[in-house]
Amino acid sequence: MTELSDELLVAYVDGQLGSKQSSAIERVLAQDDVIARRVKALKRAHRKLEAAFEAILAGEEAEAVSHPIPPSPGLLIPWDTVIKSGFAVAGIVVAAILIFAGYGWPLSTPDFASPRAGPDGTDYVGSLPGDWREEVARAQVLLGRASLEVGLDSQGNRDFIAVQIGRAIGRELAPPDLSAHGLRFTRAQVLSFGGEPLAQLLYLGTSGGPLALYAKKGGDSSEPRLKRYGSIGGVAWSQGGVAYLLAGEKDEVSLLKLAEAIRKDGP
C-alpha cells in the first residue's frame, strides 16, 4: 500500500494541487484500492457538504422570492413578530430603511434570486467566478471577425490602428498616449456588441491588471460618470458622437484622472 497523507488527499480532492501532483496521485489511485476508497470517501463528504450549502442557499432565495415585501419599513416584518423579536429584529428594520431608501424593494423582481446580477442589470463581480464556461461564453459574444483584423504585427502602428478603428466606429481613434500616467499601449481590437463594432484599446502599467478603453459609435455628449462593477471601476462618457468606457482595477481618483487626460486629448 502506498503511504499518502490525508493532507495530500484532501488537497487533491479540493483541487488545490498542481497538475503534476494530481497526475501522480491519480496514478496511485489506479493501483491502490485503499487510497482510492479514501479519496472516494473524501469526495463523498465534499459532495454532501456542497449539497447542503446549495440547499440552504436555495432556501434563502426561495424565501426572498416568496415573500415580496412592500417598501414600507413598518411592513418589513409582521408587527407581532417585530414586537416579539424586540431589539434584534429592529436591527433588520433599520438596515432595511437604509437599503431601500434609495432602491425600493428588490425582491419582487425574479432576477433578485440570482446572486451575481445587480438590479441595474450589471453583473456583479465578486471574488469568485461562478462558472467559467458561462463567463467565457459571455465574453465570446464580444468577438467578431473584425476582432482579428487588427493583426498583432500592426499593433505598433498607431496611425494604422486609428484608421482601422475609424472604419469600424465611424471616427478615427488613435490610442491615447498614457505614458505620463505609467501606462503603455499594448494592443487594440474591434469587438462586437449587439451587432455593432466596439473598439477596445488595452494598456498595461508596471503592475496590476490591464486598463481598457472601449469606444462605440453613438451617444449624446455627457460628462464622465464613475461606476464600479465589483473590483472593476469604470468611467463612462460620450464625446463627439462616440461613447467611451474606461475600465480597470484602479481606484476612482486614478480612473477619473485618466479619463480627463483622454478627454483633453480628444480622441
Binding site: 490525508d6 493532507e7 484532501v10 488537497a11 488545490q16 479514501r38 470517501a41 473524501l42 463523498r44 463528504a45 465534499h46 454532501k48 457538504l49 456542497e50 449539497a51 447542503a52 450549502f53 446549495e54 440547499a55 440552504i56 442557499l57 436555495a58 432556501g59 434563502e60 426572498a64 423579536s85 434584534a88 429584529v89 436591527g91 433588520i92 433599520v94 438596515a95 437604509l98 437599503i99 434609495g102 432602491y103 428588490p106 433578485f112 434570486a113 446572486p115 446580477a117 445587480g118 438590479p119 441595474d120 456583479y124 463581480v125 465578486g126 471574488s127 469568485l128 464622465p224 460618470r225 464613475l226 461606476k227 464600479r228 465589483g230 473590483s231 471601476g233 482595477e249 481606484d251 477619473l256
Partner: protein
Amino acid sequence: MQAEEFYDSIRTGLIAMLPRLMRFADILVGERRAGAALLGRALGRMLAEEHCYQRGTPLDRWAFGEIYRLWLEEQRDYGEPHYESDDATFAALVHNASGEAPDAFITGFLLSLPPPQRLTLLLVYGERFDHGDAGRVLDVSAETISARLLRISAGLADQLSERATAPSVVSVEEQYAEGAAA
C-alpha cells in the same frame, strides 16, 4: 464624478448578494431568525460605515468579514454564546426547492461544529473561496483554513464510511426479525 452613484454601487452589490449573506449569517448562528437579525444589524453598520470599504476589495469578502466581526464583538459583549440552535432549527435551514427532506446526518454534523469551522466549510465548499480569501474573512491564515478543512473533511469522511459499513436498520431487522428461530 457622481459620488452618489459610486457609493450606491455598494448598496447594489449588497442587495444582489443578500441570499448569500443570509446563508452566511444563518449558518454562523445556526438559526434563521437570529441569523436575519444579525444580518440586519451588520447591514446597518456596513451602510453606516461604507467609507471603510476599500475600493478594489471584493465586496462579498468584505461583507462576510463584517458580519463575522460583528458576531465576534457581540459574543464578547455577551460573554457567552447567546444564540441557541438545535437539530430541528438548523435542519430547517436545509431544504431544497422540491421539498426533499434534509440529510439529517449532514445537518447534525454541521451543527456539531463550532461556528468558525462551519463558516470555513461554507466559504470553501459553498462559496468556493480559496483558502486565502476564506482566511481573510475569518481573520485567520490560509494555513489555518487548510488545517481546519483537513480535520473536518477527514472526520466527516470517516463518519460517512462508518455509516456505510454499519448494518442498516433493515438488514438488522431481517437478521433478528421477531419470531425468527435463534
